[in-house]
């Protein structure tokens, strides 16, 4: 008896053989029904149990469980294999070179990208944003910025005026004044915005252009701080190998005043210095005028010093993105805008 193979074991071997050679799920299902189904051949043994001798029952019962377990496991294992083969078989014929479902990305205007990059850099340095109106009065645009009453910039030939005598700001420096009027020092702000000049439009001039104004007023602010701040900004923007030089210049509202030139092999201008920024230490006369408007001495030039700067976004974008004509910015041609998908 022991040497002999039990019929259940024969049944098991037959089932395993059939299962392992099953070509598909249908054949597997047929095998499942034939062996383990309600009237399956293995299930039939459960019925036969009660006909067995009492001492035989546990032995056969144990064997029956083992056989049923082995067949079930085989059904599962082979089923998994067959299903996987079926799945990959179906996908094997898929043409993965077909284009994906169309889903176009739009693009930010290159000026916005320039502004975003610049703002991100200044925020790293602890600058908050400030804002002021495009339509300004002459006091905020000129008087408060130490610009003489007969200064040529005020002329109707250079500045747009409204019928009520107000004007379109010719620079974002107006926001310096608005910020200091409404808050006491220390101040650390940048003000991105539009400015307007009555220029004939050509490849480098536009009636409307975009600036980022900067203002830092604190105790002990020096030319060294101005230099460190703008050197960091320009090297982050144009690359670590960018040469930056400060050239003394003249603006009514800063003293000393500087223009900044950069030179970088990464730019098309290469070995040529190109001007990118006007800046300087806030003129004490500006603080004095702000104090007069505030009616206090919050900005006592003996206690507080500061630096201010103005960056031309159109010009920086033209340099950085190698854009030859400022008029392209206002044309909004999709063929132009789509070049700057980022």
């Amino acid at each position: 008896m022991l040497a002999m193979t039990h019929p259940l074991e024969e049944l098991r071997d037959a089932a395993l053989a059939e299962i392992s050679s099953a070509p598909n799920e249908a054949a597997l299902d047929a095998a499942r029904v034939r062996f383990l189904g309600k009237s399956g051949t293995i299930s039939a043994w459960s019925e036969q149990m009660k006909t067995l001798a009492k001492e035989e029952r546990p032995v056969v019962g144990k064997l029956l469980n083992q056989v049923r377990g082995a067949v079930t496991a085989a059904l599962e294992a082979v089923g998994e294999k067959v299903r996987a083969a079926q799945e990959t078989g179906a996908l094997a014929s898929l043409d993965i070179s077909l284009p994906g479902t169309p889903n176009e990305l739009g693009a930010l205007h290159p000026l916005t990208q320039m502004l975003d990059r610049s703002i991100a850099l200044f925020r790293r340095m602890g600058f908050a944003l400030a804002a002021g109106p495009d339509v300004e009065d002459e006091w905020h645009c000129f008087d408060a910025l130490n610009t003489a009453p007969d200064h040529p910039a005020r002329n109707e030939a250079d500045t747009f005026y409204l019928p009520d005598g107000r004007l379109l700001r010719t620079h974002t420096s107006t926001v310096q004044i608005r910020t200091m009027e409404s808050a006491a020092p220390p101040i650390r702000v940048i003000a991105p915005g539009a400015a307007f000049r009555r220029d004939e439009v050509d490849a480098t001039h536009s009636a409307q252009f975009h600036q980022i104004e900067g203002l830092y007023v604190d105790r002990g602010v020096s030319v060294a701080d101005l230099k460190g701040t703008l050197e960091y900004f320009l090297r982050e923007l144009f690359g670590p190998d960018t040469a930056v030089r400060f050239r003394p210049h003249y603006f009514p509202f800063t003293e000393p005043s500087f223009e900044i030139d950069v030179k970088s092999k990464a730019l098309k201008s290469g070995e040529k210095w190109i001007e990118v920024c006007g800046c300087g230490m806030v003129h004490p006369a500006v603080f004095e005028e702000v104090n007069r408007a505030r009616g206090d001495t919050a900005y006592d030039p003996e206690d507080w010093t500061g630096f201010a700067f103005g960056l031309g976004m159109d010009r920086l974008a033209m340099i950085l993105f190698d854009i030859p004509d400022i008029r392209l910015f206002a044309q909004n041609d999709l063929r132009f805008l789509r070049q700057f998908v980022s």
Binding site: N103, L129, A157, S222, H249, L337
Partner: protein
Amino acid sequence: MKFSVNWVGEFVELPSDNEALADLLTLAGVEIEGIENHGANFEHVVVAQINSSTQHPNADRLSVCQVDDGSGTLRQIVCGAKNYQVGEKVPLALPGAVLPNDFKIKASKLRGVESQGMLCSAKELALSEESAGLLILSSEAKIGAPIAEVFPHDTILDVEITPNRSDLLSHFGLAREIAALTGKPLRPPGIAEPATSEGDSVRISAPNECPFYSIQRLENVTVGASPDWLRAKLDAVGLRSVNNVVDVTNFVMLELGQPLHAFDADKLAGGITVRLAQPNEKFLALDGRTYPLDPKNLLIADTQRGLAIGGVMGGEESGVSATTRNVLLESAYFLPSSIRRTARELSLPSDASYRFERGVDPGMILRASARAVQLLGEIAGATVVGATIVAGELPAPPVGFALRYARCDALLGVTVPAAAVDRILEGFGLEKLGGTTEQSTWKIPSHRSDLRREVDLIEEVVRVYGIGRIPGSTRSCFSAVSAADRVYDFEAKLRQRLVARGFCEARTSALVGRDSLGNGFAAEAVELRNPLSEDHVALRPSLLPGLLGAFTRNVRAGAKSIRLFEIGRAFLPPDAAENRRLVLLLSGSAPGGANWRAGRARPLDLYDLKGALDALGLGPLRWERAENANFALAAGIYSETTLLGLGGQLSSAHAGGPAPVLVAELTLPNELESAPRIRRFQELQRFPASTRDIALLAPAALTHAEILASLTNGEEPLLAEVQLFDLFNGADSANLDDGRKSLAYSLTYQDKNRTLIHDEVNAAHDRIRQRLQRDLKVELRE
């Protein structure tokens, strides 16, 4: 202003090469905008005299000349020009000379006749861009002399002088600056102040506009051509020679910075009065034009008429001419703002007004006059008659003030030793009046009226000390998030969401043309008082016209699918109140166009616009039909009860094309400027949801909103969500008549405290179905 390097070099020793000079000045704030070469610096080109000229035997257009090149023997030259007379002097290029463009001169035969060199035109020597015939030299030129002696080589600097530095508007002034920067000694021209006296012949009745006026009488003047050296100097900096008297006044202005004017003394009636013009007084200027003046304009007049618009332009009738014998030489100080206004009003900018409106050096006025008198004596035979007659007072010299060394260090962020500070300021001609180790008091020279307070001196220090020597510092301070920060971040988020949905950002001008105002979107706008062009006459009251312009441009460029947006300011009439707007425009085919997934290209429509707005995260938006003449379909777009703006489909007259153009313009909410909204966590649903569908046939006029309102009227607390998943009408299906449409909704039921059982879901669903039938008279489908 253009400067001759040779001329500047007369007053100070210059750096050995021009690049070094340009860098020195540029880094000190005197920006060099251009460097160009001037003069004829050629070997083997000499001055020659034409002794005879005969017709070439074999060529009608050529002549055969015998010229004297100073070697003792005559040279035979074949020449094609006709513009000379025998006896005149011209440049001769000898064999071996190399002219511009590598033109090598050799002895050769021209049509069988020997030619031992070439007679040259100005163009051939690169002295001018165009020339007709030979360059005829002055009779003074020495025969045989190298041409470089007649046209000495020079370098011309084009210098940008900032408006505060009028003291640099002369060759001596620039030399003075270079001396201060390099520490080299300055060699001023040796001129003494002339003797002066006050007299009745000059009277000032406008002392504010003209504080000081002087006249010097000169007699026996011979007006004629200027000598070569004077013509060459003027030519080098781009001034045309007129005659010796006018040339001298220009020369002195270029040398010392003081504009002068010469009157023909014999054409004056009585003494000179410096006065304001009468209302409507006319003046005939030397440009031949008559200018209407008003009492703001300063006039130099005799007893009968105006002689000159003070500091701006001389008169036609009182100027120096070929017959002039006696001259009155004017040197004066005019109020800068008065000159600026007059020059601008009359559109008469001149070299003189340019200097007067920036302020001339009071210390140079009489010395400049003396310099001109000296030169006119030398080259025009003029004799001085009497002392210089003066009227008025010279402007007071700048007031001295103190500099604190510690303040200088603090502002620059670097320590500059007091001795170095003193040395720098003394280099600029400032005189130390006294001081301690902590501070010093300084007297300011008359030519530096721009130095008015301590910080101006600190600027002089840093210009010479060199900003390159100041190490950059990276000090910072913390700042709070501002309202502007929040607005920027919000707008950046909107931009990113739109870009992610395939929109491109436009930036159109805040200034719009009258044509875009006329199109109905913006009939009212705040117009500029002084527009420059028809394209920029008013502030945009809406962003739509600008974006439509961009749309039109793109259609013309062949774009098939256009999705644009802009975020910017609109300016509302009547007071140009600024208002932040978002505007969207869609037209053409849906993203991807015709493609293998979607099949044929689908035109973008109103629901694409709605979808784009819904994805902005502005909360639920409600559309209500509105009337607008520009729209074929217009709707007000609401957030709860607040009207945000207008959207819809433009009428094809405005769209300018066959494809529908969908637009929306929203005013961005103001509450962004206050504290940001914080989202609070809500517990996740733990129990499963059940869904049931409803399909119905409804009258075509019944809206989705009406059906939705009935579905979600609040009577079924278990109903969590309703989704429309199918819609078609008679046009889509032959089984449906035109007056009806078929809709299918998926309804989701859920309770947050327990799993729902089938029966209660079915009961709720049945109640909803019955309500639809009863309230809306729709036909339910199985």
